[in-house]
């Protein structure tokens, strides 16, 4: 009786172990993308609105596969015309869906004069293939610090950006 019980118990344990095959563990993966976009729009402050400077944005984004909706972005910004300058921005983006992404962050124009502020926007990613997308969307910038600002002035910009993004 006891011997039969042990045989049944051993068989049950063996069966249970075979059913719960361990899932192989894997390390977190960083998912990286590269983006390039051109934007322009209107700006205002003490006067305006006027057409704002055309800006080229070249950057990258990174996210972890376990949290693919949380994205960190960094980019170099170059204002091209009618006056030129260079700067950078750092943003946190959140995926609202597969195609719509909200972002917010800080932006700084570094040379030839400084200008610092905050930025927020929405990006729609239009898929072109498995790894490439067209990016379109509005963006708002507010500059309130820097040597390029007259005293007491806050410059706002409403931009529309269009560009290209690739998953690396």
């Amino acid at each position: 009786m006891t011997r039969a019980f042990f045989r049944i118990a051993l068989a049950a344990v063996t069966l249970a172990c075979s059913l719960t095959e361990p899932i192989p563990a894997h390390a977190q993966q960083y998912l990286i993308g590269a983006t390039g976009a051109v934007s322009s729009g209107i700006e205002g402050g003490s006067v305006g609105p006027y057409r704002t400077r055309t800006r080229l944005r070249l950057g990258g984004d990174v996210r972890i596969d376990e949290f693919p909706d949380d994205i960190f972005e960094v980019a170099l910004d170059a204002e091209l015309e009618p006056r030129s300058s260079v700067g950078a921005d750092l943003r946190y983006a959140r995926a609202a869906s597969d195609r719509i992404f909200f972002d917010a962050g800080i932006i700084g124009i570094l040379a030839p004069s400084s200008l610092y502020g905050v930025v927020g926007g929405v990006t729609y990613r239009l898929p072109l293939g498995k790894k490439a997308q067209i990016t379109l969307g509005p963006e708002a910038d507010f500059y309130f610090l820097g040597s390029d600002l007259p005293d007491g002035t806050v410059v706002w910009e409403l931009r529309f950006q269009g560009g290209f993004r690739v998953d690396l």
Binding site: V47, R51, P82, S85, L149, P150, D151
Partner: protein, 116 residues
């Protein structure tokens, strides 16, 4: 039994081309609208760097700094008396778009520094 494709359903590559064309058309239209309200044609400014060399931004206009204020410290909207000028190497000649004797030169033209 016909196996022809429904012409009303675009292929994937065709849809991508349509998307691209639509996107670029929208961008082109937006660019044309924006060019119509260009600020640089009337000497308006929001930032010091909007103005040409030798000019400063005061009350939203690029103006010649007042005489004796060659460092371009005639900023708009400042009531402080401090002048923190730079090298003073700016020229007052050239393509002035503002007038030298308008109201921006009279009272509130001291304070910040042009970084041009």
């Amino acid at each position: 039994m016909s196996t022809s494709r429904d012409p009303s359903v675009p292929s994937s590559s065709g849809a991508a081309v349509v998307r691209l064309a639509t996107a670029f058309a929208m961008i082109w239209i937006a660019a044309r609208v924006l060019l119509a309200c260009d600020a640089t044609s009337d000497g308006a400014c929001l930032r010091f760097s909007d103005c040409a060399s030798g000019l400063t931004c005061a009350n939203g206009e690029c103006v010649t700094p007042p005489s004796g204020d060659m460092d371009g410290s005639a900023a708009s909207g400042s009531s402080s008396g401090s002048t923190t000028g730079t090298s003073g190497a700016q020229s007052t000649s050239g393509d002035t778009t503002g007038t030298g004797d308008d109201e921006t030169d009279e009272s509130d033209d001291s304070g910040t520094t042009s970084t041009e």
